[in-house]
C-alpha cells in the first residue's frame, strides 16, 4: 500500500494511530488534548474501524480520575485501551498509573504535555505534567514533531505490547499538538506489520475473567511487599531494547530511523545540548546550521526517557565532548536541578565510574530551563547556550528565553539570529476571531502542502478572551521540510497581513516584516486614501522596510456577497494572488475546491456564497503607491490610558498588546497574586453597535442593566447639583425611586467596553406608543458615538454611588442601583453566565470571597492580562481565586472554615480584652445584627473604632485581634462554577460541602455543556441536544442536581432563569445568601454552544420555562421549621412543547438534519420527561410538612 502525504495537526496525527490500535477509549476533555478524544468520538460515530475490524468504544467520564479508572478496569479485563490527556488531568490519573504499571498491563496514554497549575494555571505547553509521573513506572516516550507524534504512537504501542510496560507517549502541548504540518500518513499495513497479534492474545489470556479467575489488587504486608515490588526489574531492563527493536522495524518499513537517544552534529563535537520534545528539533536544526559554520557542536534528542538507558546515551555521546548543557522544560523548585539534568548527571557519573563512558575529559555539565508554558525557544537561544558553554565556568541552572533580573539566571541572546532557509517563505496573518482567518490559513496550508510539491507548516496563536480576540497565524512553506517549532521571528516574514484595520491602533505587526516583503491590509480606505489613516510607526515601517503595500476592502466585498463578517476566503484569495505560490487561476480553483470540501456538507448555498466572494476579490485588491516620506501625525495608541495605575501601565499594558514577553521577572508578582480593578483599563472597542438611551420613553425598570453581561449599561441616581458640571450630551431625567426623592436618574453606556450584544434592547419593555419599533434603548453605530459617550461615561462613573443602606435590594430596579464589582470581562458577547455573576457582585461584592472552578468563569474571571473583578471607592470588592477544577467546592468550604474560625477567635479575644476595649463596644460587636446592609455598614464602623482602641493596648492578643478584626464583619462565601464542575468532576466535593451544613453559597452557571473547552457533553446536557461526545444526540435526560440536593432537607436550593423571571432570580439569590446554611442556586445560562443568536437568549429562557425543560423553584429549609412545605414552584405546568423551545437552537436542530428519526424519538421522550418532572415537583410541593403535635402524656413521663 502506498502512503499519502497529508497536512494534519499533531493531535490528529497521534489520535489517528491510537484509535486504530485500541478497543476501548475512555476520556475526559482538557486542553490541549481534548480534540484527540473528539476525533476518536467522531470516528466512532462514523463507524470507522480499528485495524482488527471493530469500531472502538468511546466513553466520556466524569473526570480524568474516572477515565483512568475506567481504563484500568477495561484493560485488566482484557481490552486494548487508551486515553488522551494533559496537565491537571494527567495528575488525576497518577494513582491508577501506579497500579497499571505495578500490574504490568500494556497500554499507551497519549499526552499533549502542558504546564501544571502552580502560581497560575496555564493551558500552554511544557513538560511539567509528564515529569510528575516519573515515579509511576510508566515508560515515557517523547515526540518532537507532528510526524513523530504519528510514528511514535505506533512504536509505543508495539513496545508496550511486547514489554508489558505501560507507555506514556507525549509531545509538547500546542507547539506540536496544534501545529499543522505535512507528514507521511501510515497505513493499516504498516500498523499490522508493527503489531504482533501474539502479544494481544497473551494480554487477553492474562485478563481478569471468571472463566480463569484470579485475584488482583491485593493488600500486602511488610513481609512480602518489598520483594514483590522488585520482581518487575527484568521487565524494565528489557524495555529499552524492545523499544529499539520496534524503532528498527519501523525504519525498515518506512525509512524513518528513530533512536532512544539520537545524536546529530560534529563527530568531534566538544559542546553538546541534550533535550527532549519539540525544543530538541530546534537544537538539532541550529546545530546543523552551526556545523556548517565550522562549530564543533552536537545535539542529542531524548526519545525514550523512561526506562532511562544509560548505555544508549553514552553510546551516542562523542568522546570529544567536554561541555554538556541539559535542557528541561519544567521547573522543580527545591531540587538540585531539573529531572533530565539530574538523570544525565547520574548517567554520566555512573558511566564514568563503571568505565562505560569513554570521554577524553570529564565533561562539565550544566542544566537549564526553557520554554515553560509555551515560551518560545528559538535558534537564537540555542546559539546563546552554545556560547555559554564556551566559557570555562558556564552558568549552571540557567534560564533561557526570559529576562531574569531578580535571580540573574537568564542568558542573553541575539533575537536577530535566524536560520530560516532562504527558500522558505514565512507569512504572518493578524485576524479577528470572528472573521475566519485561522480556518482560511489552515485551508491554505492544505492547498500548498497537498497540491504543490512544497512543504507547509502552520501555527496559530490566540488570545485569552472569549470573543473579539486577536488571532495570529504563522505560516511557512517551501521546498524543504519545515522543522521550525517556533513562531516566525522579527524581520523574518515575507508576507504580513492585517485583517482588521483597528489593530493598527495598538499592535506592532510590521515588526515581523522583512525588508522587501509584502504588507496586505484590510482597509475601508481605498489605495488613494489609506496612507493618511496610518499611524506614524506603520508608515515608517513600510518606507524603511521597502514593503509592497496592498489593500482590499474585504468587509465591503463580504457585504456585497452576503458573507457578513467572514472575510476568510476573500483574504485567502488575496494571499495566493500576491504570494504567487500558485498561478492565480489555479489558486482560485484550489481555493474553490477546498471551499467545496470544507463547506460542501453545509449546503450548496454556503459554497456558492463563498465562490461569489472569491470571484469578487481580485478586482477589489489594489497596490498602494508608497510615498517617500512619513506624513502622519497620528501615533499608535498606548495599550492603556496614561492615567492607569503603574502596574496596569507597565505590566498589563505590554501584555494587552502582545508584548508581554519583554517583561522581566521583577515585573511579576512573586506568588501569583494580582490586583483587581484592571479590566476597566483595557478599552477593547469591539462593539460595532451600542445601545442609545431614549430617556423620554424610559420607565426606569432597571432590566437593561440587569441582563447586561458586561456591566456596560448602568443606571445611577444622584443629587441634581452634579448636573452643573455634566458634559453637553449627558442625558438625565427626574428619578422615580420612592425611597430617594428629588434625585436625578441616568442610564449610561460605556461605548468602548460594550460588545454590542443587544440583550439590553431585548429586555427593555418600554416601547414608543407612536412607533413600536423604537424602545427606550435602541442600537446605533458605535463609531460616531465613541468620543462623546466616552466623555459621558467618565463623568457618569465618577458620580457617587447610591447609599446602600437607603434602599432595599429586593426589586430589580433597586438592585441595579448597586455598583457592579464585576465588569468588562472577556466573556462572549451575550454570555448567559455573567449577568448572574455580576448580580452577586452588586448584592454582596464588597464582602464576598469567591472560589471559582476552572471553566469559562475562571477564564473570563481570571485570565490575564486583566480581570473583571473590581472594587468600590472604599477599596472593598470580591476577593477571587481559582484553585482547580475538581476541588472547587472544597476550596470554598475551606474559606468558610477560615472565616468562621477567625471570627470565633476574634470573638474570644474580644471577650478576653473587653475591659480594656470597653464593654459596650465589645457587646455591640458580638451581638451585631448584620442581616441588612445598614448592619454591615455599622459593624464596619465599630471595627474602625475597635482598631483605634487596640492601638493603646500593649498585649500580643491585641495585635492578633487587630489582624483579625475584619472577620467580625459578615462575609459572603460564594462557590461558583459551570455544570462541568458541579455535575461531573466536582460533584463528589460539592456533595460533601452541601452535606456539611456550613454556610456557603453555590452558584452553578449551567450551560448544559463544557463551554470553555468547546462544547463536550456533561451530565447537565439536555436530552436530544447534540454536543461533543453526544454527536448522535444525548440519549439520556439531564441529571436533576437540584432535586438531589433537596433530599438533604437542610440545603437551600433554587433553580433560576433570569430571562424567564428576573424577579425570581433576584429573590432566590437573596434568599440563598441569607440562609444560614448551604445554598445551591442553579442558573440557566444560554451560551454560544447552543447555536442561536444570543440576543434572543432571554426569549429562549422564557421558552425553556414554558416548555417545562427548565423548572423554576425555591426550596427553603427555613420553611420546614414553620411546618410549611419548603418547595415553592415558580413555574407553571408545561404549556408549549419542548420542540418549540429546542428547535430555535442549532444543538437540537442539527440532529433533525443529521438523523431525523432519532431526533423525533428523543424529542418525544423529552416531552414526556417534562410532564413527568412537573408532576413530581408538583407532588413534592404539596407534601404535608406540618409539625407533629406534642404528645402530652409522653411529655410528662
Amino acid at each position: 500500500m502506498t502512503r499519502e502525504m497529508i497536512t494534519i495537526g499533531g493531535n490528529e496525527a497521534a489520535a489517528y494511530i491510537a484509535y486504530r490500535l485500541n478497543e476501548v477509549i475512555a476520556i475526559y476533555p482538557i486542553t490541549p488534548s481534548s480534540d484527540m478524544g473528539e476525533f476518536a468520538d467522531e470516528w466512532a460515530a462514523k463507524g470507522k474501524k480499528n485495524i482488527w475490524g471493530t469500531v472502538p468504544t468511546v466513553m466520556e467520564m466524569q473526570s480524568e480520575g474516572g477515565a483512568a479508572g475506567a481504563l484500568h478496569g477495561a484493560m485488566t479485563s482484557g481490552s486494548l485501551t487508551t486515553t488522551f490527556t494533559a496537565s491537571q488531568g494527567l495528575l488525576l490519573m497518577i494513582p491508577n498509573m501506579y497500579k497499571i504499571a505495578g500490574e504490568l498491563t500494556p497500554t499507551v496514554i497519549n499526552v499533549s504535555a502542558r504546564s501544571l497549575a502552580t502560581h497560575a494555571l496555564s493551558i500552554f505547553g511544557d513538560q511539567s505534567d509528564i515529569y510528575s509521573t516519573r515515579g509511576t513506572g510508566f515508560a515515557l516516550i517523547a515526540s518532537r514533531s507532528v510526524q513523530e507524534a504519528h510514528d511514535m504512537a505506533l512504536i509505543a504501542q508495539a513496545s508496550t505490547l511486547e514489554s508489558r510496560i505501560p507507555f506514556l507517549h507525549f509531545f509538547d502541548g500546542f507547539r506540536t499538538s496544534h501545529e499543522v504540518n505535512k507528514i507521511e500518513l501510515l497505513n493499516e499495513d504498516d500498523m499490522r506489520q508493527m503489531i504482533d497479534d501474539r502479544f494481544i492474545m497473551e494480554h487477553r489470556a492474562r485478563a481478569l475473567t471468571p472463566d480463569r479467575p484470579t485475584l488482583r489488587g491485593t493488600a500486602q504486608n511488610p513481609d512480602t511487599f518489598f520483594q514483590a515490588r522488585e520482581t518487575a526489574n527484568v521487565y524494565y531492563k528489557m524495555c529499552p531494547e524492545i523499544v529499539e527493536k520496534a524503532m528498527d522495524k519501523f525504519a525498515s518499513i518506512t525509512g524513518r530511523q528513530y533512536k532512544l537517544f539520537r545524536y546529530v552534529g560534529a563527530p568531534d563535537a566538544e559542546r553538546v545540548i541534550i533535550s527532549m520534545g519539540s525544543g530538541a528539533e530546534t537544537v538539532e536544526e541550529t546545530v546543523l546550521y552551526l556545523n556548517q559554520k565550522g562549530e564543533k557542536v552536537g545535539a542529542i534528542t531524548v526519545t525514550l526517557y523512561r526506562p532511562f538507558s544509560m548505555a544508549h546515551l553514552l553510546e551516542v555521546l562523542p568522546p570529544s565532548v567536554n561541555k554538556i548543557a541539559i535542557l528541561d522544560r519544567t521547573k522543580e523548585p527545591g531540587a538540585l536541578g531539573e529531572p533530565l539534568y539530574q538523570d544525565v548527571i547520574t548517567a554520566i557519573e555512573e558511566g564514568l565510574s563503571t568505565g562505560l563512558a569513554k570521554f577524553e575529559k570529564h565533561p562539565k555539565l550544566i542544566g537549564g530551563r526553557y520554554g515553560l508554558s509555551s515560551k518560545e525557544f528559538t535558534p537564537a537561544m540555542v546559539k546563546a547556550i552554545f556560547e555559554e558553554l564556551v566559557k570555562s565556568e558556564p552558568l549552571n541552572h540557567f534560564t533561557i528565553g526570559i529576562e531574569d533580573d531578580v535571580n540573574h539566571t537568564s542568558l542573553p541572546y541575539d533575537s536577530a539570529f535566524s536560520i530560516v532557509h532562504p527558500k522558505t517563505v514565512s507569512c504572518v496573518f493578524f485576524g479577528l476571531g470572528a472573521d475566519g482567518t485561522v480556518g482560511a490559513n489552515k485551508n491554505s496550508i492544505k492547498i500548498i502542502g497537498e497540491e504543490t510539491p512544497n512543504h507547509a507548516q502552520g501555527y496559530f496563536v490566540y488570545d485569552s478572551k472569549k470573543s473579539g480576540t486577536v488571532t495570529i497565524s504563522h505560516l511557512r512553506f517551501g521546498p524543504h521540510p519545515i522543522r521550525a517549532p517556533y513562531v516566525i521571528g522579527r524581520g523574518e516574514a515575507n508576507f504580513v497581513a492585517c485583517h482588521q484595520f483597528t489593530f493598527l491602533e495598538k499592535l506592532d505587526m510590521l515588526k515581523f516584516a522583512r525588508e522587501g516583503g509584502v504588507f496586505l491590509l484590510n482597509s475601508i480606505y481605498g489605495p488613494d486614501q489609506v496612507w493618511d489613516h496610518l499611524p506614524v510607526e506603520v508608515q515608517a515601517d513600510i518606507i524603511n522596510k521597502k514593503l509592497k503595500f496592498h489593500v482590499i476592502d474585504a468587509y465591503d466585498v463580504a457585504n456585497k456577497t452576503k458573507m457578513g463578517s467572514r472575510i476568510n476566503t476573500i483574504m485567502q484569495t488575496c494571499f495566493f494572488a500576491i504570494s504567487g505560490i500558485l498561478p492565480r487561476q489555479e489558486a482560485i480553483e484550489q481555493i474553490k475546491y477546498s471551499i467545496q470540501k470544507t463547506y460542501g456538507k453545509r449546503g450548496d448555498a454556503v459554497v456558492q456564497q463563498n465562490f461569489a466572494a472569491v470571484d469578487s476579490t481580485l478586482e477589489n485588491l489594489y497596490e498602494v503607491k508608497v510615498p517617500a516620506r512619513v506624513t502622519s501625525s497620528m501615533k499608535r495608541k498606548p495599550a492603556v490610558s496614561d492615567t492607569a495605575p503603574d502596574f496596569v501601565r507597565n505590566v498589563l499594558g505590554p501584555m494587552i498588546i502582545h508584548e508581554g514577553d519583554s517583561l522581566p521577572v521583577s515585573a511579576l508578582p512573586i506568588d501569583g497574586v494580582f490586583p483587581t480593578n484592571t479590566s476597566r483599563w483595557d478599552k477593547r472597542n469591539i462593539g460595532l453597535e451600542i445601545p442609545v438611551w431614549e430617556s423620554d420613553l424610559c420607565i426606569q425598570c432597571g432590566k437593561c442593566s440587569f441582563v447586561c453581561p458586561h456591566a456596560v449599561i448602568r443606571q445611577k441616581i444622584y443629587h441634581p447639583k452634579y448636573l452643573e458640571t455634566a458634559p453637553v450630551t449627558f442625558k438625565s431625567i427626574p428619578a422615580k425611586f420612592k425611597e430617594l426623592p428629588d434625585q436625578i436618574y441616568t442610564i449610561q453606556v460605556s461605548p468602548e467596553d460594550c460588545t454590542g450584544c443587544a440583550l439590553c434592547v431585548e429586555a427593555c419593555p418600554a416601547k414608543d406608543k407612536t412607533r413600536v419599533g423604537r424602545k427606550a434603548i435602541n442600537m446605533a453605530q458605535q463609531q460616531p458615538l465613541r468620543e462623546e459617550e466616552s466623555i459621558n461615561w467618565e463623568f457618569f462613573i465618577n458620580l457617587p454611588e447610591v447609599d446602600r443602606s437607603a434602599i432595599s435590594p429586593k426589586t430589580i430596579k433597586n438592585s441595579q442601583l448597586l455598583q457592579p464589582l464585576f465588569e468588562f470581562s472577556g466573556a462572549c458577547a451575550g454570555c448567559g453566565e455573567t449577568p448572574y455573576v455580576k448580580l452577586v457582585s452588586q448584592l454582596f461584592g464588597d464582602r464576598a470571597i469567591i472560589a471559582n472552578a476552572t471553566g469559562c468563569s475562571s477564564i473570563y474571571g481570571g485570565n490575564l492580562p486583566t480581570t473583571p473583578w473590581a472594587s468600590n471607592i472604599d477599596g472593598r470588592g470580591p476577593a477571587w481565586s481559582n484553585s482547580l477544577f475538581e476541588d472547587n467546592a472544597e476550596f470554598g468550604l475551606g474559606m468558610r472554615l477560615t472565616i468562621n474560625k477567625q471570627r470565633d477567635f476574634a470573638s474570644e479575644l474580644l471577650k478576653e480584652l473587653s475591659s480594656q476595649i470597653g464593654e459596650n463596644l465589645v457587646s455591640e460587636l458580638l451581638q451585631a445584627d448584620q442581616t441588612e446592609e445598614i448592619g454591615i455598614i455599622t459593624q464596619r464602623q465599630r471595627v474602625r473604632i475597635l482598631r483605634e482602641a487596640l492601638k493603646g493596648i500593649k498585649d500580643l492578643r491585641a495585635r492578633h485581634l487587630d489582624s483579625l478584626a475584619d472577620s467580625l464583619v459578615k462575609k459572603s462565601v460564594w462557590i461558583m462554577g459551570g455544570d462541568g464542575w458541579a455535575y461531573d468532576i466536582g460533584y463528589g466535593g460539592l456533595d460533601h460541602v452541601l452535606a456539611s451544613g456550613l454556610n456557603v453559597n453555590v452558584l452553578v452557571l449551567d450551560t448544559g455543556v463544557y463551554s470553555n473547552t468547546g462544547g463536550q457533553a456533561s451530565k447537565a446536557t439536555p436530552r436530544a441536544a447534540v454536543a461533543k461526545f453526544a454527536a448522535n444526540g444525548k440519549g439520556l435526560p439531564r441529571k436533576d442536581l437540584g432535586r438531589l440536593a433537596m433530599t438533604y432537607g437542610y440545603v437551600y436550593v433554587a433553580s433560576v432563569a433570569m430571562g424567564a423571571n428576573d424577579q425570581q432570580t433576584l429573590r432566590a439569590i437573596l434568599e440563598a445568601e441569607a440562609y444560614e446554611g448551604p445554598s445551591l442556586v442553579i442558573a440557566y445560562s444560554h451560551c454560544i454552544a447552543h447555536g442561536f443568536d444570543l440576543k434572543k437568549g432571554l426569549d429562549q429562557q422564557k421558552l425553556a420555562v414554558l416548555s417545562g425543560i427548565w423548572p423554576l423553584y425555591r426550596f427553603n429549609p427555613d420553611q420546614i421549621d414553620k411546618g410549611e412545605n419548603p418547595l415553592s414552584l415558580d413555574y407553571k405546568e408545561p404549556s408549549i412543547t419542548v420542540d418549540e423551545y429546542a428547535y430555535n437552537e442549532t444543538r437540537f436542530r442539527m440532529l433533525t438534519q443529521s438523523n431525523e428519526e432519532r431526533a423525533e424519538v428523543l424529542m418525544n421522550l423529552a416531552n414526556i420527561d417534562v410532564k413527568r418532572t412537573w408532576r413530581i415537583y408538583q407532588s413534592m410541593s404539596q407534601q404535608d410538612y406540618s409539625l407533629p403535635k406534642q404528645d402530652e402524656d409522653k411529655k410528662e413521663t
Binding site: 463551554s1011 442549532t1146 443529521s1154
Partner: protein, 334 residues
C-alpha cells in the same frame, strides 16, 4: 357506485380528492394512509429554495461562529458526517413515495432565484414526480414596481420552467391580481397545464401584550370556498387548462360545488389536519352517496355544470356587493 374518476394535468385520478401541500406528505406512512383512505393524488409539501438557502447559511453561521478564536475552544460542535441541508431530503422523499404508493405524486416548488427555480424543478422531475405545482408568490411592497412588471415575473418564470420540463406543470395562484382571467390566461399561454386556485397567505397578526408581529396559522373554513368557487366558475371553459380548487373544502358539499363550478379536482389540507386522514373516506363516500341519490353517473358529468358558461344566470357570478338579485329583464320585449 358512481364513476368518480377524473383527469388532472393529464393524470388519471380515481377520484377528484387531492391532498394538497401540507406537512402530511413529510412522512411515507401518512401518505400511505392517505392512499388507503382513498385520496386520488397527493401534492407534496413545498420545497422552499429560500428555506434551503437559509438552512444552509444558518447552519454554517452557527457552526462557524466563534470558532478558531480561543485556544481552548476552537470549535463548539462535533463535526458530523451529514447535515442533509439541500434539496436531497425532499427529492429522496419523492422517490420513497413513488416506491410506496400508486397514486400520483405532485411536487411543489417555491423558489427565489430563477436559477434555483429551474434547477429544483428539473431535480423534482428527475426524482420521479408525476407533475409539478409551482407555488409562486411575491408580496409586493415596492411602490415603484407596477402590476405589469409583477405579472411578467410570474409568466416569465412559468415559461422558463416549462421549457425545461417534460412533466405537466400547474401554477398555484393567489387572488391578488387586477384581472384574474387575464393573468390566468397569460399563465396558460406561458405553459401552465393547470391552475390551482387559490393560495392562502398566512397573514401576520399583532400580539398586543408584547406588541410584536406574530405569524399565525389559522386553518381554513368552508367560508373560504366562495372566492375560488367564483373564479373557477368564471374561468371554466374560457382557458385551456385544468382548474383545481383549494382553500375551504371541508365537506362533500364543498367538493361538489367545486366540481360543478369547473374544478377537475379539489385540494384539501386543513380538513385533514383538523379531522384526521380518515376523514377522506367519509368525503369520498359522501360524494358517491350524493351522486347516487341525485342520479349523477360520473364526476365528469358534473364538472363545470354550474360554471358561468353553463348556468342560467351567469351574472350571478359577477355579483360582488349587493346581495339581492336584480330582477332581470329583457328590453327587447315590449
Amino acid at each position: 357506485m358512481a364513476d368518480l374518476k377524473t383527469t388532472y394535468l393529464g393524470l388519471e385520478l380515481k377520484n377528484p380528492l387531492v391532498a394538497s401541500a401540507s406537512p402530511l406528505s413529510k412522512k411515507v406512512d401518512t401518505v400511505k394512509r392517505l392512499e388507503d383512505a382513498g385520496v386520488g393524488a397527493v401534492v407534496m409539501y413545498s420545497l422552499f429554495e429560500e428555506q434551503i438557502i437559509h438552512q444552509s447559511l444558518e447552519l454554517d453561521y452557527y457552526l462557524s461562529r466563534h470558532t478558531e478564536s480561543n485556544a481552548e475552544s476552537l470549535t463548539y460542535f462535533p463535526d458530523l458526517e451529514n447535515y442533509n441541508v439541500g434539496p436531497e431530503v425532499y427529492l429522496e422523499q419523492i422517490q420513497k413515495l413513488k416506491r410506496s404508493v400508486d397514486i400520483p405524486i405532485i411536487g411543489s416548488l417555491n423558489g427565489i432565484s430563477s436559477g434555483g427555480w429551474i434547477d429544483y424543478a428539473k431535480k423534482i422531475e428527475e426524482a420521479g414526480a408525476d407533475a409539478l405545482e409551482l407555488n409562486i408568490y411575491f408580496v409586493p411592497t415596492d411602490t415603484d414596481v407596477n402590476s405589469q412588471e409583477l405579472e411578467d415575473t410570474y409568466t416569465t418564470l412559468t415559461a422558463n420552467i416549462k421549457n425545461h420540463l417534460n412533466i405537466p406543470l400547474s401554477v398555484k395562484m393567489n387572488p391578488f391580481f387586477t384581472s384574474i382571467p387575464n393573468i390566468a390566461s397569460k399563465l396558460v399561454q406561458a405553459g401552465a397545464d393547470g391552475l390551482v386556485m387559490f393560495n392562502r397567505f398566512l397573514q401576520p397578526d399583532i400580539e398586543l401584550e408584547n406588541m410584536v408581529i406574530t405569524p399565525n396559522l389559522i386553518l381554513s373554513t368552508s367560508a373560504e370556498l366562495r372566492l375560488p368557487l367564483r373564479w373557477i366558475a368564471i374561468l371554466y371553459g374560457r382557458i385551456q387548462a385544468d382548474l383545481a380548487l383549494t382553500s375551504g373544502v371541508h365537506s362533500r358539499e364543498d367538493m361538489i360545488k367545486a366540481l360543478m363550478a369547473g374544478a377537475k379536482v379539489t385540494m384539501i389540507a386543513s380538513h385533514f389536519l383538523m379531522n384526521g386522514i380518515d376523514s377522506a373516506r367519509e368525503l369520498i363516500l359522501g360524494l358517491n352517496t350524493w351522486m347516487e341519490t341525485n342520479e349523477y353517473e360520473s364526476v365528469n358529468q358534473m364538472i363545470g355544470s354550474m360554471s358561468q358558461k353553463s348556468v342560467a344566470e351567469p351574472a350571478a357570478y359577477e355579483r360582488a356587493n349587493y346581495m339581492k338579485a336584480l330582477t332581470s329583464f329583457d328590453n327587447r320585449r315590449y
